[in-house]
């Protein structure tokens, strides 16, 4: 799935959060706020949880590795698109980073209960489509899509 295809959504609702370096609170806060919004919209619990997990993990990745960046959520009747964009160190080997257990997180991050190398695998497991574009010393863009219609849905969790 190309990045252009993932950007298909003309959003009916758009939510945006700024993520500062080492702002370890914004991930949980944004996941919680988006969850409430999706509950108000009336979406099913399994979809809401998938989206919340993606947001939590992706936003934590930005605050841990990304220097600073943005989290954007686009909601339309067909799908929810979660986008993170950061100006961090980039991912030299995306395939390696996708492996469960691979981590470059600091001791400080591990002490908080993160950094076990499960972030990207969790995002993949909860996404129907996932695209990561990264350049070393430039930054990383992550696009994850969760379909609202079950016939399109491929995510493993729920």
């Amino acid at each position: 799935m190309s990045q252009d295809n993932l950007r298909f959504i003309t959003p009916h609702i758009k939510l945006e959060f700024k993520i500062d370096e080492k702002d370890f609170f914004i991930a949980g806060e944004s996941a919680s706020r988006v969850k409430k919004t999706l509950q108000q919209v009336g979406l099913p619990q399994d979809i809401i949880k998938k989206v919340a997990i993606i947001i939590y993990e992706a936003a934590m990745n930005v605050s841990i590795h990304g220097n600073h960046g943005m989290l954007r959520i686009y909601i339309d009747p067909e799908a929810i698109l979660i986008e993170t964009e950061d100006k961090g160190a980039g991912i030299p080997d995306i395939e390696l980073a996708m492996q469960e257990g691979y981590s470059t997180a600091s001791y400080e991050v591990r002490e908080m209960g993160f950094g076990a190398g499960m972030g990207l695998p969790n995002i993949k497991q909860c996404s129907d489509e996932l695209h990561i574009d990264s350049k070393v010393d430039v930054g990383t863009t992550l696009l994850a899509k969760v379909y609202l219609n079950k016939k399109h849905s491929l995510g493993n969790r729920g």
């Binding site: 370890f24 609170f25 991930a27 949980g28 806060e29 996941a31 919680s32 969850k35 619990q45 949880k49 919340a52 997990i53 939590y56 993990e57 908080m112 209960g113 993160f114 076990a116 499960m118 972030g119 969790n122 497991q125 493993n156 969790r157």
Partner: protein, 124 residues
């Protein structure tokens, strides 16, 4: 089990959420990794952990956990407790460690969530 039963079984102190002790708990998940909690904690689950930071409460909120039990006598700071109280998530602390807590709860009929057990990859 009710939360009030769990409080007794674990000799736990209630840090917040005393009004919610009537709630039912259907399963238990114990770990110190937030990513695993995000993936495996489900509705009506109680979380047992030695982590006391705000992420535990945020995760419990996001995943609709019933309550959180901190082991080894640990207590989170007041900000975490207030946040949890506002989210209607009771917090407990017990002197017992994770293994002892799990053993006591299992012996009293509480198990892990079946979906969690079934979906865990044990292939290595």
């Amino acid at each position: 089990m009710k939360l009030s039963d769990i409080q007794k079984v674990l000799d736990a102190e209630v840090l917040c959420g005393e009004d919610h002790l009537y709630k039912d708990v259907l399963s238990c998940f114990a770990c110190d990794l937030i990513s695993e909690m995000l993936l495996y904690v489900t509705h009506n689950t109680i979380v047992i952990t030695s982590l006391t930071n705000i992420h535990v409460v945020h995760t419990a909120q996001v995943m609709d956990a019933v309550a959180v039990v901190f082991v080894g006598g640990k207590k989170p700071d007041q900000v975490v407790i207030m946040n949890s109280e506002m989210s209607n998530i009771p917090l407990f602390t017990t002197k017992h460690l994770i293994f002892e807590c799990c053993g006591r709860l299992y012996a009293n009929g509480l198990t892990g969530d079946k979906k969690t057990t079934d979906s865990a990859d044990v292939s290595g």
